[in-house]
């Protein structure tokens, strides 16, 4: 039983091309090899803890995909870490990734369910005990102890529909899965 509303999708515009997504789903169902994507980024050290990552092409639909432009994401540490604060920290970028993935998901699900969004804001906070990364206490993990996400949504739908939107977004979110489940990471040198 899905939580669809009475509105038709032609009246609702959240900027998401749901028809294209559903078409892609059908096509990839028939050709699962084409569903194997590889996402990439290349990071260059600048100075101190300041780094610059460049996102260019990715692999998907059976071939290399290029965009004709690169995206740059810089990272650094703040003054309390005796650094130069040139950019957000890697962990803040991860939280932004989670917020972005969940928010985009809310828009896509809302489009599919015929819900017109007016504004969506996701506020995220992650707890971190620095005794982990500073090696002070080896029972403390490096990463987040807990992450809290709060959505403020103004839309043409009732509270239960909005809760269902946000719940469905988590169910199908890549970054939510990345953060809540283990992933193998293999690191090599030269």
């Amino acid at each position: 039983m899905t939580g669809t509303t009475a509105q038709t999708t032609t009246e609702v515009n959240n900027g998401v091309n749901v028809e294209a997504l559903l078409g892609a789903r059908e096509a990839l169902d028939a050709a699962p090899e084409a569903a194997q994507f590889k996402w990439r980024t290349t990071c260059e050290w600048v100075n101190g803890t300041h780094c610059r990552s460049t996102v260019s092409g990715f692999f998907g639909l059976g071939e290399e995909q290029s965009r004709g432009k690169d995206f740059t994401i810089e990272a650094d540490h703040p003054a309390v870490f005796a650094a130069e604060d040139n950019a957000a920290t890697p962990v803040e970028i991860v939280l932004s990734g989670l917020a972005s993935c969940l928010t985009a998901g809310v828009a896509a699900v809302a489009q599919h369910r015929g819900i017109q969004l007016h504004s969506v804001t996701a506020t995220i906070e992650g707890d971190m005990d620095l005794q982990g990364i500073l090696g002070i206490d080896d029972e403390v993990r490096n990463g987040f102890g807990a992450i809290r996400v709060h959505f403020d949504i103004d839309a043409d739908a009732d509270e239960d529909d909005l809760k269902a939107l946000v719940a469905q977004s988590q169910k199908r979110s890549a970054v939510f899965d990345i953060i809540t489940n283990p992933t193998n990471v293999f690191v090599s040198v030269n």
Partner: protein, 414 residues
């Protein structure tokens, strides 16, 4: 060599219902059954199991429950007697103790090889059910060998386990039922919870299964759903059949002392990892339950029946710890047994007809198998209707598939 028009594989409720409908159409047939009639109910269920549907819902073509407790829930010996009793009203031959070795296509139909001889036939109905093999996740391979790894197929009662902690993986009907009885046996249960469907046993004074029948959701057709593959994967409802008609959800288990964790994400070096998405799984289940209760309230209003039932009410949301456990050290936490309540699948290893998809599932349209004229399947979840895998669903599915089978025979003869 034996010849018959139709071979039915399996003498459970689906096979027997098909037998009745074929007999009504004078289509000659036999049933092949590896054990006794109602074998799975006899051999592959645990001691305390009762149906999770009320007895009045146990109907087969021309046959109904006529015992003293229509609102109660039959135990396994009663279910076996019920189905066996039905088999005795039928006149077609049932070859029990006969195992199918292979089914292959021939020029005019099929050849069914069994360990007691071969049958040539024009049509075959696969009624071996959806639960021949327990699904066990790959992670089970990483369990330390000192820990017992058990599926519901081998489970009969809690005391078959040694004393100590038990991790139950999966919180659908089987998982919640076994978690409860194992916890009550004095063994600390940790229940790993992924996607699940929460329902109350009673709502507005009536059994939830009574409601689902009344408002028509059990009769919903597969071709009326938005995504038939999704609905066929919906897990079994968290229900148990008890004389007290108690609700068995995560809150009830928590109150008994069961520890609730997220979905099993992996096992490595004696440590289990659980997903951090438990909160969302519980939210999804609560929202889905409330949508069902809304549908019920809407049906009552639309049919002007408000006076016939207790007023609408809702249930407490599923409690989730402020910090759900993300990991468990099996040895340190005293886990002696892991019970994989992670679902079942049918066995088609003997089906040598290319009708399976890349995940080993039968490709079919409402039970009519793709690319294999005269081959049918019954008893799978939402095969033709939401009730298809329930005892009461066998009649309508058998009637419609028998009609299709009959038309196929006429086409083949022409």
């Amino acid at each position: 060599m034996n010849y018959v028009t139709t071979v039915i594989i399996g003498a459970g409720q689906s096979g027997l219902a098909m037998s009745k409908h074929l007999a009504d159409r004078s289509i000659d047939h036999v049933l092949i059954e590896r054990g006794e009639v109602a074998n799975s109910w006899r051999k592959e269920r645990w001691d305390s199991l009762r149906l999770l549907t009320p007895n009045w819902q146990s109907r087969l073509p021309g046959y109904a429950y006529n015992g003293a407790d229509p609102d109660g829930y039959m135990d396994m010996p009663e279910v076996v007697r019920f189905i066996q009793g039905y088999a005795e009203t039928l006149s077609s031959p049932i070859y029990t103790g006969t195992r199918v070795i292979s089914v292959r296509q021939t020029e005019i139909g099929y050849r069914v090889a069994t360990d007691r001889g071969e049958w040539r036939c024009e049509t075959v109905v696969l009624a071996n059910g959806a639960c021949n093999v327990a699904n066990v996740p790959k992670a089970a391979e990483c369990l330390p060998t000192a820990i017992a790894s058990v599926t519901p197929m081998e489970y009969r009662y809690p005391d078959q386990f040694e004393d100590g902690g038990v991790m139950v993986v999966g919180a659908s009907a089987t998982g919640v039922q076994l978690a409860k009885e194992i916890q009550l046996s004095g063994r600390q249960v940790t229940l790993s919870v992924g996607e699940h469907v929460r329902v109350p046993r009673l709502y507005r004074g009536r059994d939830i299964k009574w409601w689902m029948d009344a408002i028509g959701v059990m009769d919903m057709r597969y071709d009326e759903t938005d995504d038939v593959r999704r609905v066929r994967r919906v897990p079994s409802l968290q229900l148990v059949g008890t004389p007290e008609r108690s609700t068995l959800d995560l809150n009830a288990l928590r109150a008994l002392g069961v520890r609730i964790t997220g979905r099993l994400a992996g096992i490595r070096d004696g440590k289990v990892q659980f997903s951090g998405s438990l909160g969302n799984q519980c939210t999804l289940a609560d929202l889905k339950m409330n949508r069902l209760l809304e549908s019920i309230d809407a049906w009552v209003r639309e049919n002007s029946k408000d006076g016939e039932f207790y007023p609408p009410h809702r249930f407490d949301k599923t409690l989730v710890d402020a910090e759900p456990q993300l990991g468990m050290d099996l040895a340190r936490d005293g886990i002696k047994t892991v019970l994989w309540a992670t679902g079942y699948r049918p066995d088609y290893s003997w089906l040598h007809v290319p009708v399976l998809d890349r995940k080993g599932r039968i490709r079919h349209d409402g039970g009519v198998i793709d690319d294999a004229p005269g081959l049918y399947v019954m008893g799978l979840p939402f095969l033709r209707r939401r009730k298809s895998s329930f005892i009461a669903g066998a009649d309508d599915d058998a009637r419609e598939l028998a009609e299709h089978l009959s038309a196929t025979l006429h086409r083949l003869a022409a």
